[in-house]
């Protein structure tokens, strides 16, 4: 039974300006080191890009600390990161290949950039045949297989499925689209579809092992539409292209707008299902204090990935698919939901735990996003100055 929650929303846990500045200082130093790489920056466009990126990232981190709100400031950075990624990635492809299309020659030369979505598909063939079933390079190139594995392992151990809420360069697109309208038009989604990512994971892992090729990338990845697409040279490749565009338009744009949910992440992405398992090994979780919870259901309705339901709220936590975006923490009218470090006192306020989570989470976001931000800004300056980005 719902309890009354009228007009008794607690004020956010604001910190004093000096204290928030001091707590933000480590991030300022870390992002400075990470964005400069320890080298002097040369060229006016590079300096402008560095300053804008540096100020943007640190301003939003400072606001997280100062206001006590997480998702409110995470979301703009995360969405901007995805847009910057698309700009940077596509222009890189155009420079390297002259086209976004992935040709047979590119595949034969192992020139396909590796992304984390492929990881679950590589494991069984890797174990059985000692082969990575992806036409990319192991080391030394843009988006090499080893660099992506290392990033993924680090982020998974630190954040678990928080990877999808803070680090995935695709997730920000639908996160952004899901915030375009104020109220959802589609409010009811059959919960059975929350099992679809698991079914898809099972399907693609097995079919990829059988076919010894990354089936998801070949047939089902919605993000092919905005990164690299298969060169249309036959009916088969035309079908693939239609699938990519349809999935992107439906799962990443239209449905997130209509539902205000991350539909692709919550109801489709097999990597997301796979990544959910890492929530078991990470030290961070979301906890709900049953004494403070008034069962208003706001967290359940607002969770972008269907990771909260009445059952999980009653049990005092989120489902395994939680990506720790912090929206429920921000919106809870009683402050009953908080970040939690496993093994610590479950009914603590979560203020310190939140900080302990925010540092690695934002650092991963800044590390992954910083380079793309800078590059995208340089490209945009170049576009404004010369009329082209390449």
């Amino acid at each position: 039974m719902k309890r009354d929650t009228t007009n008794d929303t607690p004020a956010p846990k604001r910190r004093s300006f000096p204290k928030a500045f001091l707590l933000s200082l480590p991030m300022m130093l870390l992002t400075f080191a990470m964005l400069t790489g320890g080298k002097p920056i040369s060229g006016p466009s590079q300096i402008v890009a560095f300053l804008l990126t540096y100020c943007f990232l640190n301003l939003f981190f400072f606001l997280m600390i100062y206001t006590g709100k997480t998702d409110r400031w995470r979301a703009p950075v995360f969405s901007a990161y995805s847009v910057a990624f698309v700009i940077s990635f596509v222009t890189h492809l155009l420079e390297a290949r002259g086209s976004m299309a992935l040709s047979e020659a590119n595949i034969l030369r192992a020139q396909a950039p590796f992304c984390h979505m492929v990881i679950p598909m590589t494991l069984i063939p890797g174990a059985l045949t000692k082969t990575i079933i992806f036409p990319g390079t192991i080391v030394g190139s843009f988006a090499s297989i080893s660099s992506m594995f290392i990033l993924w392992i680090g982020a998974s151990l630190s954040l678990g499925r928080g990877f999808c809420g803070w680090t995935c360069f695709f997730g920000g697109l639908e996160d952004g689209f899901s915030r375009l309208i104020k109220r959802p038009i589609i409010k009811r989604i059959n919960p059975v579809f929350t099992y679809l990512p698991w079914a898809l994971l099972l399907f693609i892992v097995l079919t990829s092992a059988a076919a010894l090729s990354p089936v998801y990338c070949t047939w089902l990845c919605p993000f092919k539409a905005v990164t690299e697409y298969v060169q249309v040279i036959s009916v088969k490749t035309l079908v693939q292209m239609v699938i990519f565009v349809t999935l992107f338009a439906g799962l990443v744009v239209t449905l997130p707008i209509l539902t205000k949910k991350r539909i692709q992440c919550g109801l489709f992405c097999p990597f997301g299902a796979f990544q959910s398992l890492t929530n078991k090994v990470t030290g961070f979780a979301i906890r709900i204090d049953p004494d403070k919870c008034v069962k208003c259901g706001r967290c359940v309705r607002s969770c972008p990935t269907f990771s909260l339901d009445d059952e999980s709220v009653a049990s005092g936590g989120s489902r395994i698919s939680c990506m720790k975006c912090g929206r429920c923490v921000d919106l809870c009218p009683k402050g009953a939901i908080h970040y939690h470090v496993k093994g610590t006192e479950p009914r603590s306020s979560g203020t310190l735990q939140r900080l302990l989570f925010l540092y690695p989470a934002f650092l991963f976001l800044a590390t992954m996003g910083g380079g793309f931000f800078k590059d995208a800004i340089v490209r945009i300056i170049k576009l404004a100055a010369t009329g082209h980005m390449i």
Partner: protein
């Protein structure tokens, strides 16, 4: 390997649809703990294997009789893939149980038998044979794939590997703790069956098109 993976990919469905038979067998037995439950599961799986091997011979006969011509073979197998895939998709997305395979009816029968006569040691084996002789969609997919090859030894081997793939899902069956997650396994299995169905439909379509062209 193909048969094993086909079995693995459909094992969730097999587990979901065989559970109404196997679970009453497991629950009806009194005492004995895990070893007895393992014995019942092993008997059940042995029965299933027997049913599968009978089908292996049938698939070979069908293959020899009908599929001599390459174009005809491609067309028939492609058509079979498509029809069976449609069944698989219907199975996956039909909420009611009226379309489920005969295992459901068998489950009720098993319950009655165990209630009135007790559980004889051969009952799980008989139940395994009965479920093994069911035309459930994943099994028919395996049959079509086996018939495509046309060799008796290959057909038997194919069904044996398919059996192994599906049987992995039954390994945890004796452990009752996992039964609580049965609904989730069934749901994931059904959805996966739908995806596998779509995959085979597309494969069937390609084969049918190729077969018609070469006729």
């Amino acid at each position: 390997m193909e048969a094993f993976l086909l079995g693995l990919s459909n094992g969730g469905v097999c587990l979901a649809y065989c559970a109404p038979v196997l679970v009453p067998c497991l629950l009806a037995g009194s005492g004995g703990g895990i070893p007895k439950a393992v014995g019942i599961t092993a008997g059940f799986l042995g029965g299933r294997l027997l049913g599968y091997l009978v089908f292996a011979v049938a698939a070979w006969i069908i293959g020899r009789a009908l599929l001599g011509n390459a174009g005809a073979r491609e067309s028939i197998i492609g058509l079979a893939y498509m029809m069976l895939s449609v069944m698989l998709v219907v199975y996956a997305f039909t909420a009611g149980r009226s379309h489920s395979c005969a295992a459901t009816g068998m489950g009720a029968l098993m319950l009655k038998l165990s209630e009135h006569q007790g559980l004889s040691p051969l009952l799980p084996v008989a139940a395994g044979v009965a479920t093994g002789l069911n035309f459930c969609p994943p099994f028919l997919l395996a049959m079509a794939a086996s018939a495509e090859k046309g060799s008796l030894s290959y057909s038997i081997f194919f069904f044996f590997m398919f059996f192994l793939g599906t049987s992995l899902f039954f390994v945890p069956a004796p452990f009752f703790g996992l039964l609580r997650s049965h609904a989730a396994v069934r749901t994931v299995g059904r959805l996966c069956a739908g995806l596998v169905g779509a995959y085979y439909f597309f494969s069937g379509l390609i084969m049918l098109t190729g077969g018609i062209k070469s006729l």
